[in-house]
């Protein structure tokens, strides 16, 4: 029978709690273990508790022997000292392969360093088999260095407690912010106050009809999930197969959104943030659907308000329709006569119908231009260069499409 030490739980439950990340806990734990040779323990870096290593004490002779072996394949060490993560409730950890990592012998201890930091809340079952450790030394030393019988298998269950965190994360904004949205709306941007968990996002996002019934599969469920680099903004695309004319999905089920109808975008409060804590509250956005928008945004129709020289007043562009919030940040900027981008801050307002640019330094007299990347889209995916859908009967060929177009303006007299 294995000699089982449910160390953290059975022996020192308060240490288990303290092992949350406090330096004292590590020292206490180490001191406790030193008095009980042979126990397996977690040794932690106080600053980074999740980067703990598993240690087991060895007899002097075994430690010397193993230290002299040099590099061994991890698989060889795994025979003697193996750590198993309890990956889910009810799964037999003994049937699962051991955690991968590296081994070393130091200060009469065999140390296992997992390849990745430990996950708080997961039970790690560590098993040390001294007989197998001594067998690593070869046949002639077998038995001589083993102070226990081969049945002296040592086990411990170790765990980093999961901090109990209060839900704080919220949906900070959803774009577009308008409440009147076109039937061929292409996407929502969901913004969160902190990074979110990824992997099952579409389970948490719903579109409800006017009777609060869930609409089946309204969005393009992209396995990759369209997050920004830091995981605080998710792009949710409507299924383009139900927007684009003539395709089977639209033929069979019609467009997702229908003109004149009201809808609610609903985000569940149960959606965990990246630390596993649910949202502080859910989010809903009600909107009414208007006619499809098939017109390209036309910079010629934008109203430009030019500030005075010497001021730091914003230059503003007012659009006749809301434009894509993200692309307004990236595909519009100001250049001076030398084609250098002017430094400053962008503010998008008036339900994404206004773009305001506040310069870092006061405006100087001179010629400027607003540079517009032709990829700038309205809410229906029509961009400055081409509509979302090009009717090739009416428009058989593309003209040359530049990457940018510009609006010239002058500051000063």
């Amino acid at each position: 029978m294995p000699l089982r030490h449910d160390f953290a739980v059975a022996f020192c439950p308060f240490i288990l709690v303290l092992q949350l990340g406090c330096a004292k806990a590590t020292q206490d734990s180490a001191a406790e273990s030193t008095e009980s040779p042979g126990l397996i323990r977690l040794a932690k870096q106080p600053a980074v508790p999740s980067q703990a290593v598993f240690e087991v004490d060895l007899s002097q002779a075994l430690a010397d022997g193993l230290a002299s072996l040099g590099a061994l394949e991890p698989a060889a060490w795994e025979n003697a000292f193996h750590i198993h993560a309890e990956t889910a409730d009810g799964l037999g950890w003994r049937e699962l392969p051991p955690v991968q990592g590296s081994y070393r012998v130091t200060n009469n201890r065999l140390v296992f360093e997992p390849l990745f930091p430990l996950q708080a809340g997961v039970n790690y079952h560590a098993v040390f088999e001294p007989a197998k450790a001594s067998r690593l030394l070869g046949g002639e030393t077998d038995g001589r260095l083993v102070e226990r019988s081969s049945s002296d298998v040592i086990e411990a269950t170790l765990r980093l407690e999961k901090p109990r965190a209060k839900p704080e994360t919220i949906v900070s904004q959803v774009y577009p912010t308008a409440n009147l949205l076109p039937e061929n709306l292409l996407k929502f941007y969901l913004l969160f106050s902190t990074p979110m968990s990824q992997g099952n996002v579409y389970n948490h996002i719903h579109l409800l009809n006017v009777r609060d019934e869930k609409i089946d599969l309204p969005f393009l469920e992209v396995d990759e999930e369209l997050w920004n680099p830091d995981g605080t903004r998710l792009t949710v695309l409507f299924d383009p197969g139900r927007i684009k004319r003539g395709l089977l999905p639209r033929e069979q089920d019609g467009p997702v959104l229908q003109e004149g109808q009201s809808y609610t975008l609903k985000i569940d409060a149960t959606w965990p943030d990246a630390t596993g804590v649910p949202l502080k509250k859910g989010f809903t956005k009600k909107f009414i659907v208007t006619a499809p928008d098939v017109e390209m945004p036309s910079p010629a129709r934008w109203k430009i308000t030019v500030p005075d020289a010497g001021s730091i007043n914003p230059l503003t562009l007012d659009f006749p329709e809301p434009l894509d919030h993200a692309l307004l940040q990236r595909l519009l900027w100001i250049e001076d006569a030398g084609k250098h981008a002017v430094e400053g801050q962008v503010q998008v307002g008036n339900v994404e119908r206004q773009w305001a640019f506040v310069p870092s330094q006061a405006w100087k007299d001179g010629d400027y231009r607003v540079v517009i990347g032709t990829g700038l889209e309205d809410l229906a995916g029509n961009n400055v260069a081409r509509p979302f859908e090009v009717d090739r009967v009416q428009r058989p060929d593309d003209e040359f499409i530049p990457d940018y177009v510009t609006l010239e303006f002058k500051i000063g007299n």
Partner: protein
């Protein structure tokens, strides 16, 4: 994800090998650590090369693995509870481990999985190898021979002033990669503009990649044309000419001649099948059975489709409206006993390797005889 897609019309293994040897030997690998910021689809190349996509870094990394051939699986490849076992090796709970893609080195009978462990800033991008025996190991990214191709990201941003604008939130997800005739082909989907760029990267990687993007469009019934991001694709020779068969996010299956994929060009894929609603294509492979070639496509909701390619060469495409429901285009059959297939890759001439749903939340990795 794709393995080396065999050129299925009249290309012999010997000539294929010689092409591959010449390319990979010339690869300007460097030895060092690879630090992945994220991980997406995988593809295998010649001589143990594994292509790993890193969407956040907008990069493709070719790793020259030192993997050795394993015992021939003879279709006995089976790992039950794959997700729990991968989680165990990574020391995490199963709900913190996401399997992103599967690729198989057919010559070594070795499977690779791209995996994300954890969430947020603490997430780790990992590649694991799986042998037919079920042995799972993390692929070491330390001090390995590798080469990196950077994908141009958000070209509009790169050509003008940098300091004024806010941190760039744009990211292009990589939906599929494949190694085809000496080139790495990368399909992407932006989290901002609804555009679709296919990137063609000659391998060995060299020089600037600027301008190698091809914009992909789809024309419905020869009339309405939109940008059309590619969900998954596979290479296929039609009458000796290499093509890619691609499934768009809006579901049509199209064919695109490789010769049209020239830097900076705009390409409209020709619809060869409409696969219907509520369906998301996941993976495709091409295989040969009883002298005929088939395309096998895993889908989110319609099981696995086996599509005959006999008429592909002279198929004129769908140019008329599909009405009355159902599907249209190339004939296909649904393979009814292949259920819950989430990942699909070629294993050998007789078998595919799939990741499929099992009891509860369990996933299995198993070889399945080709239908």
């Amino acid at each position: 994800m794709k393995t080396i897609q065999r050129s299925l019309v009249g290309l012999f293994a010997a000539s294929l090998a010689s092409i591959f040897v010449s390319t990979s030997d010339a690869a300007p690998y460097q030895k060092g650590d690879i630090k992945l910021q994220s991980i997406g689809p995988l593809a295998t190349g010649p001589d143990g090369v594994l292509f790993v996509s890193d969407p956040k870094a907008a990069a493709i990394i070719a790793i020259k693995t030192a993997a050795k051939a394993t015992d021939n699986s003879s279709g006995n490849f089976k790992v039950e509870g794959l997700n729990a076992k991968v989680a165990a090796v990574l020391g995490a709970s199963v709900d913190q481990v996401r399997i992103i893609d599967l690729a198989v080195d057919t010559s070594l009978q070795l499977a690779y999985l791209s995996v994300i462990r954890g969430q947020g800033a603490n997430a780790n991008a990992v590649v694991v190898s799986v042998r037919p025996s079920g042995k799972i190991r993390v692929l070491s990214l330390k001090n390995v021979q590798h080469a990196v191709a950077k994908l141009p990201n958000a070209p509009a941003d790169q050509e003008t002033g940098q300091g004024r604008r806010r941190r760039n939130q744009r990211m292009e997800s990589i939906t599929d990669i494949a190694f085809v005739n000496g080139k790495v082909i990368v399909a992407g989907l932006s989290n901002e503009e609804f555009s679709s760029t296919l990137r063609i990267i000659p391998f060995p990687f060299e020089g600037s990649l600027k301008g190698t993007g091809v914009r992909i469009f789809h024309g419905a019934h020869g009339r309405y044309e939109t940008s059309s991001p590619i969900r998954t694709f596979v290479s296929y020779d039609i009458a000796g000419d290499p093509h890619i068969l691609a499934a768009y996010t809006c579901t049509p299956l199209v064919k695109i001649p490789m010769m049209e994929l020239k830097p900076g060009s705009n390409v409209v894929g020709e619809t060869i099948a409409e696969l219907g609603n509520r369906n998301r294509p996941i993976d495709m492979i091409v295989y040969k059975k009883d002298g005929k070639e088939y395309l096998l496509m895993a889908n989110s909701s319609r099981g696995v489709m086996k599509i005959t390619t006999e008429k592909l060469g002279n198929y004129k495409g769908i140019t008329e409206k599909v009405s009355g429901g159902g599907t249209k285009g190339l004939p296909y059959e649904t393979v009814s006993d292949w259920t819950q297939v989430y990942q699909l890759a070629e294993l050998d001439s007789q078998h595919a390797l799939v990741v499929r749903g099992a009891d509860g939340d369990n996933l299995n990795l198993e070889a399945v005889r080709l239908p």
